[in-house]
């Protein structure tokens, strides 16, 4: 047995050493593996690599328009989700179309009521048979350039907004698609005719459209629209001046927004405008806009101005044709009846006539 004792002692030593080694190994590897365990879940790819940002936070940022980079593409492509498009769609297909439709429909309805109640405004003294020149050929050409291009723009523009609901079911997708394509082309090119017409009309008539004291009298008497009063006026009465300034302001605004739609993603117009709004005191308007938002707001503004503009011009067309006897001559032949001129533009007519007789007077004196 003596032999066995050293062996036992040896085995005991071995066991202790092995155990100690195992403990050290376990503790040590626990330290080493412990670190790795943070990075490896279930032995697969490292996750939680977002640092202090939670996964859900990361997805929320993307949902709200956070953008990244795209190899070889433009900056815009980096945006993963732009929710503003939903707002634009809701506005355009919702309130814009709805209220725009009502504005147009309402204007026509009001004018019809007016026509039934008031009838055509006649020349009180009847036609004299004598005429005087109101607009020369150049003025008339400028007006018609503006007017014809406006009508083409209005019809092709309204078709983009409403045609799908009004004409498409009537004529079918193919015919409607073809017409709308030509309408769009017309809209894009005729726009330049409109801008030229606007510029000419502005230069030609700005001088006579500066407001003066007669405008107050005219407005006070309702322009003689609702009674038979004929308030004095020079070449343009207050009502016509209002049309002039509506055309100029709306025309410039619609041209500028239209230009930006024509060359999309090239201009920043809305952000500076909104900055100016805020400067004026509306501190809630967003000024940090994406390129997409620029286009969306531009399109909405273009359409809002267009709809109001068209409503105003419907009224202008009414009074220039159906609504008033003798008015259309001013823009067709350019020659108006002297009695019409005396009734609607007394100061202008008197001035013109005295100028004419002043010119004639020396001639007759020389005879």
């Amino acid at each position: 047995m003596k032999h066995t004792a050293p062996m036992n002692v040896f085995a005991w030593h071995r066991a202790v050493t092995a155990l100690a080694a195992l403990v050290v190994a376990v503790v040590f590897s626990a330290i080493v593996i412990g670190d790795a365990a943070v990075a490896q879940t279930g032995g697969s790819v490292p996750g939680n690599a977002l640092g202090t940002t939670a996964d859900s936070e990361f997805w929320r940022q993307i949902r709200q328009g956070e953008s990244g980079t795209v190899a070889g593409a433009n900056e815009q492509a980096g945006t993963l989700i732009q929710s503003e498009g939903d707002n634009w769609r809701a506005m355009r297909n919702g309130p814009l179309s709805k209220w725009g439709g009502w504005a147009l429909f309402g204007t026509v309805a009001l004018l019809s009521i007016f026509f039934v109640a008031r009838g055509r405004i006649k020349i009180g003294a009847g036609a004299s048979g004598k005429t005087m020149t109101r607009f020369n050929l150049f003025e008339r050409m400028s007006h018609w350039l503006l007017a014809v291009s406006f009508i083409i723009l209005a019809v092709s523009g309204l078709n983009l907004l409403y045609g799908r609901y009004v004409f498409l079911p009537l004529i079918g997708a193919d015919a409607f698609g073809a017409i709308t394509l030509y309408g769009k082309l017309a809209h894009n090119y005729v726009a330049f005719g409109f801008m030229a017409g606007l510029f000419l009309v502005f230069l030609l008539w700005i001088k006579e459209n500066i407001p003066n004291r007669h405008d107050l009298t005219w407005l006070n008497q309702g322009g003689g629209m609702f009674n038979d009063a004929h308030p004095p006026a020079k070449k343009f009465n207050a009502g016509q001046k209002m049309v002039f300034w509506i055309v100029i302001v709306a025309g410039v605004s619609i041209s500028v927004s239209g230009w930006s739609l024509l060359y999309p993603f090239r201009y920043e117009m809305i952000a500076p405008t909104f900055e100016w709004f805020n400067w004026m005191g509306f501190n809630w308007v967003p000024v940090d806009l994406t390129a997409h938002q620029e286009m969306q707001y531009t399109q909405l503004w273009h359409a809002i101005v267009a709809l109001l503009f068209i409503a105003a011009i419907i009224a202008h067309i009414y009074i220039g044709t159906l609504g008033m006897e003798g008015a259309f001559d001013a823009m067709s032949s350019g020659e108006v009846d002297t009695n019409w001129a005396m009734e609607h533009h007394s100061l202008w007519a008197e001035e013109e006539m005295s100028e004419a007789s002043a010119k004639e007077a020396p001639a007759s004196a020389a005879e």
Partner: protein, 197 residues
């Protein structure tokens, strides 16, 4: 009937752009147009993630709603397609699309963008299935051949999944459970609202 959906697993996408290339080649997409793109967030920084994105074939698709000529249609499988014969190139679908999917052959030259082009879920267009005309305008009709979109088939890490929405979300759910992190069915909340993910 299957509801076709895309899902890109951002924990797997390595921004190799194979999906972009596969698509471009399969459909012979015109110069300057990529129907799919890979967006990298935090590029080069900690927590960098890449996501492959194309048309998501939305439910209640915004592009369909705003098109002035109503040239979109949605198939029984939920794929959003459009007619290039009818498209007037107005650009409105691009203003409306949440995912920036619609593309145009020309950039804004005088309002003439040309006919809109976008991902078709490899399902062609309104022309006769597998006709030359269909291929020329819209590319291959793989769905019509019983195959799934090539971008997803080609994805080496299987980050991009395409197919029946239920199958896709099952696969994704299994992955998330197995690896224990990274749930973000990218874009689904926006593209398929109210359908869960």
């Amino acid at each position: 009937m299957a509801r076709m959906k895309f899902l890109c697993d951002a924990e797997r996408c390595i921004e190799c752009n194979a999906c972009v290339t596969a698509c471009k080649n399969e459909h012979e997409v015109p110069w300057g147009i990529n129907r799919r793109r890979v967006v990298t967030i935090n590029d080069g920084g900690p927590g960098e993630r890449s996501i492959s994105v194309a048309c998501m074939h939305c439910s209640d698709a915004p592009c369909m709603a705003v098109c002035p000529v109503d040239c979109f249609y949605q198939t029984d499988e939920g794929v959003v397609l459009h007619s290039k014969d009818l498209c007037i190139g107005c650009g409105y679908c691009f203003y409306a699309c949440p995912f920036g999917a619609p593309q145009y052959p020309q950039v804004g030259n005088f309002g003439s963008r040309g006919k809109m082009d976008k991902c078709t879920f490899c399902n062609g267009g309104p022309e006769d299935d597998h006709s030359d005309a269909e291929f020329r305008s819209y590319g291959r009709n793989r769905l019509g051949e019983g195959k799934l979109p090539l971008c997803a088939e080609m994805c080496s890490t299987r980050a991009l999944l395409a197919g029946d929405g239920d199958r896709v979300s099952d696969i994704y759910r299994e992955r998330v459970i197995a690896r224990g992190f990274g749930s973000g069915a990218w874009g689904w909340g926006r593209a398929y609202p109210g359908q869960g993910s």
